[in-house]
């Protein structure tokens, strides 16, 4: 049984895979040109950096970054389904985003548990202060 912790080999591989997938779909969007796709690519790059940045704020709110990235990738998939073109690279990008969401949900489930409970835990100390 593999124990999944942020510093275990499995945890590091999982995190690396998330970063690589986010950068990969970001790169595909960047190659499409135009402002909207460039902003989309920038969003993926920032999220990928936030997933590994050893900054206190990023570490504290990594659960939120995870959920944000899940929502970001899901919106990209829905937007493509509604109005995007159907061609080979688009399918590759969407497959990457589906895999990215799956890995992020694995991390969220193992490290964060229920998002609502996590939110309460984050908000309570601030409310007491």
């Amino acid at each position: 049984m593999v124990t999944l912790r942020p510093t275990s080999p499995a945890g590091l591989i999982l995190r690396a895979a998330i970063v690589v997938l986010a950068l990969a779909t970001g790169w595909i969007h960047f190659t499409l040109g135009g402002l909207l796709f460039s902003l989309n690519a920038a969003g993926y790059v920032v999220a990928a950096a936030a997933m590994v940045a050893p900054i206190g704020l990023a570490v504290r709110f990594r659960w939120l970054i995870r959920l944000g990235l899940v929502a970001y990738a899901a919106i990209a998939i829905v937007a493509w389904y509604v109005m995007g073109p159907r061609y080979d690279m688009a399918y590759v990008a969407k497959a990457i985003e589906v895999a990215l969401i799956a890995l992020l949900l694995v991390e969220a489930r193992v490290y964060d548990g229920s998002p609502l409970r996590r939110l309460r835990r984050t908000v309570r100390p601030a409310a007491r202060a």
Binding site: T31, L32, G33, G84, Y87
Partner: protein, 132 residues
């Protein structure tokens, strides 16, 4: 020895025919019309800097025509033709490709009227197509 050479030549011819067949089978819209068999009148559209160089295209009505797209950049583009009514029904969608290269789309005949041509990837790349 001659038998061996003949077999090698036959193999080369077969490989060339197979490659030619693969190229043609990918999409009829991507096959440049041969010099002896033009697929109706041709209109040309160029894409550069994530924009079409022409905002209006005139094509003959009720006649199939060839739409030539010169993609002058590495960014992928295509040309789609939509009806100009409320539903904006898509009448034709060309294959997406990255440049710099040129593709020929065989577009079916359009009834007289106004249509919109657009890049399916970049909705800001659009123009008016008049069939008349």
């Amino acid at each position: 020895m001659n038998t061996l050479r003949r077999a090698a030549a036959r193999g080369l011819v077969a490989a060339a025919l197979a490659l030619a067949g693969c190229g043609g089978a990918a999409s009829p819209a991507m096959t440049p019309p041969g010099p002896g068999a033009p697929a109706g009148p041709a209109v040309t559209l160029a894409a550069q800097d994530v924009a079409f160089e022409t905002a209006e295209l005139d094509v003959p009505a009720n006649v199939a025509f060839t739409l030539v797209l010169e993609n002058r950049e590495a960014v992928p583009h295509n040309v789609s033709i939509d009806r100009n009514d409320a539903g904006h029904a898509r009448l034709f969608e060309g294959a997406v490709f990255s440049g710099p290269t040129t593709r020929w789309y065989a577009v079916p005949a359009l009834a007289p009227g106004e249509y919109t041509f657009v890049c399916a990837i970049h909705p800001n790349m659009t123009g008016r197509l008049v069939a008349g």
